[in-house]
């Protein structure tokens, strides 16, 4: 068998293993093996490339791999699970940046490429990769609090962005010699600059709480950039892997938008939190029933079934370990404990599941919205920790700003306990009737301290 064929077959095997690896992510039991398989597929693709390319100098390659490996490895080991959205954002920036640089290098190698598949792919790789690179860093800075989480806007923003998009198209056509020949190198540098600028300008007007959607969308872009780089160098495994990532990012983006009942356009172009017509002074003015840790322990400790609903506030307070202790103690008393996870709980989709898994909650006790919603009417008590909009029954009111948003139907349980700092509204900016319902008890306080108190009180129960 000749060497070329062997290389091609190795690429094919790599592509197959990427798909099989992703398929194994369909169950928590096989997921870790799937990830290992995908990383093995990556190794195969790298080895095939090393064999296939006439390498002039190994030094550069080894230096790059050594630096990248150390930085990536240390970051992956050190990162806190609560900081996953930022981490994914940064890794995504580097992936997009790498694809862009491949396209840039190919172009500078062959500036007079003209209007051809290679030429168009190079420009697409540059602009998509560039937007992914700068946009992901802005998203990271917003999540990390380096930049304000509030939308950054200026007059004529949409017009500026529109102009830049048109400019990119015109410049691209000029570079490819559509309007006649000239040396396109200088124009190309301008094209690179605009791509980076566009990434920044597209992300700054989006609010911090929407950053996970942005990161997911940019993740999709980084896949498309990799595919474009695949068209540039004529490599099928790049095209395939890029397409897989592109599809994955797009699906997750759609799911997140669905979880918040908003369109992608609404997220990208802002305009959320429209609380016109709502009197904010009215929020939290109605009487509620309060309970302290002792009373809550009594409500939870003597029943058959408890469903815990963890929300963003739990992640912020890092109270997942205390919450797991509460669950363990209740189970030891014979209570059936389940965890209901809303699609947008935590700071990104599935983030709450990771935080609870880190706190050693068994994954078969975690239920999605669709799996658990019918159970609430048969549940004795619901314990909500740091969640608000995702349990707001106002979503059933067609006139509400959150009308139609999928919610956990906790109000159908016999008893609802809401653990929260105050009656302040969530991201949607509206009051929550659940707090004032006859079957609801409000358990005010910091999530971590309150769960600690609750652990003590449950231990005191007879």
């Amino acid at each position: 068998m000749n060497a070329d064929l062997l290389v091609e077959l190795t690429y094919l095997l790599s592509a197959i293993l990427f798909v099989v690896g992703l398929k194994q992510l369909q169950s928590p039991a096989t997921a870790r093996g799937g990830n290992a398989l995908a990383s093995f597929a990556m190794l195969l693709a790298i080895v095939a490339t090393l064999v296939d390319t006439d390498i002039l100098g190994w030094t550069g390659i080894l230096v790059g791999v050594a630096i990248g490996g150390i930085v990536g490895g240390v970051a992956a080991r050190k990162v806190e699970m609560t900081s996953m959205p930022e981490m994914v954002g940064v890794f995504n920036a580097f992936g997009g940046g790498a694809s862009a640089l491949v396209a840039v290098a190919e172009f500078l190698n062959l500036p007079s490429v003209g209007l051809s598949t290679a030429g168009v792919s190079m420009l697409l790789g540059t602009v998509i990769g560039g937007v992914t690179f700068s946009g992901s860093f802005i998203a990271f800075a917003k999540l990390k609090g380096i930049l304000t989480g509030n939308p950054i806007t200026f007059p004529g923003q949409d017009a500026t962005n529109g102009l830049l998009v048109v400019g990119t198209l015109v410049l691209g056509a000029m570079i490819l010699g559509v309007f006649g020949g000239q040396d396109p190198t200088t124009l190309f540098y301008a094209f690179c600059g605009i791509s980076l600028l566009l990434g920044i300008l597209l992300v700054i007007p989006i609010g911090g709480s929407d950053m996970p959607v942005v990161i997911s969308l940019l993740n999709s872009y980084s896949g498309l950039a990799a595919s474009a780089a695949g068209f540039v160098i004529g490599n099928m495994v790049l095209i395939i892997a890029g397409a897989l990532v592109g599809a994955s990012g797009l699906i997750l983006t759609q799911l997140m938008c669905k979880g918040m009942n908003r369109s992608l356009a609404n997220v990208v172009f802002g305009g959320f939190g429209g609380t016109a017509g709502i009197d904010r002074a009215q929020i939290g003015q109605r009487p509620v029933m309060r309970a302290d840790a002792e009373a809550v322990a009594a409500e939870l400790g003597y029943v058959n079934s408890v469903v815990v609903v963890p929300g963003y506030g739990l992640a912020v307070a890092q109270a997942q370990h205390e919450l797991r202790k509460v669950g363990d103690l209740l189970e030891a008393r014979g209570v059936d404990v389940k965890y209901a996870i809303h699609p947008v709980a935590g700071r990104m989709p599935g983030h709450m599941n990771v935080l609870l898994a880190e706190a050693d909650v068994s994954y078969d006790k975690l239920y999605d919205l669709d799996e658990i919603n019918d159970d609430f009417s048969r549940t004795d008590a619901v314990l909500i920790v740091g969640a608000n909009d995702v349990v707001n029954p106002a979503s059933r009111d067609p006139k509400s700003v959150i009308a139609g948003m999928p919610i956990l139907d906790v109000d159908r349980a016999r008893r609802v306990i809401v653990m929260k700092r105050s009656l302040s509204p969530g991201f949607a900016g509206i009051d929550n009737d659940l707090f004032y319902a006859d079957n609801t008890l409000m358990f005010f306080g910091d999530a971590k301290d309150s769960m600690g108190d609750l652990v003590r009180e449950i231990r005191e129960l007879a």
Binding site: V19, L22, S27, P28, A29, A31, R32, N35, A36, A38, S39, M42, L50, T53, D54, I55, L56, G57, G60, I61, V63, G64, G68, G72, G73, A75, M84, F91, N92, F94, G95, A98, S99, L101, V102, A105, E106, T117, S222, G223, A226, G230, I233, M236, V237, I239, A243, L244, V245, A247, S248, G249, G350, N353, V354, A357, S362, Y363, L366, D368
Partner: protein
């Protein structure tokens, strides 16, 4: 059929295969899915090796090494952090 068309067929079919596989990933694994897919986008390392490997000038070398460094961070960091997350998903 030209190179471009073959590439497009491969791209579209791969995207459809990806869609079939990924829509069946349960919500509980969406964060690891995102970070794992993110690691796969580091496949740009293949292109980076081609660029750095045949670089004959300083510019090409700098671009190639920078691309390899970034792609490696994405690949190693992405797969390792995904493994770290998935190792915590246990059934008791």
């Amino acid at each position: 059929m030209g190179e471009l068309m073959i590439g497009l067929y491969v791209f579209v079919l791969a995207a459809l295969a990806g869609r079939e596989v990924i829509t069946k990933v349960p919500p509980t694994l969406h964060t690891p899915l995102m970070s794992g897919a993110n690691a796969i986008s580091g496949i740009a390392i293949v292109g980076a090796i081609v660029v750095a490997g045949r670089a004959d000038g300083t510019t090409q070398m700098v671009l190639g090494v920078a691309a390899i460094t970034m792609a490696t961070i994405n690949v190693i960091g992405g797969f390792m952090v995904t493994d770290r997350m998935l190792s915590m998903f246990r059934k008791r």
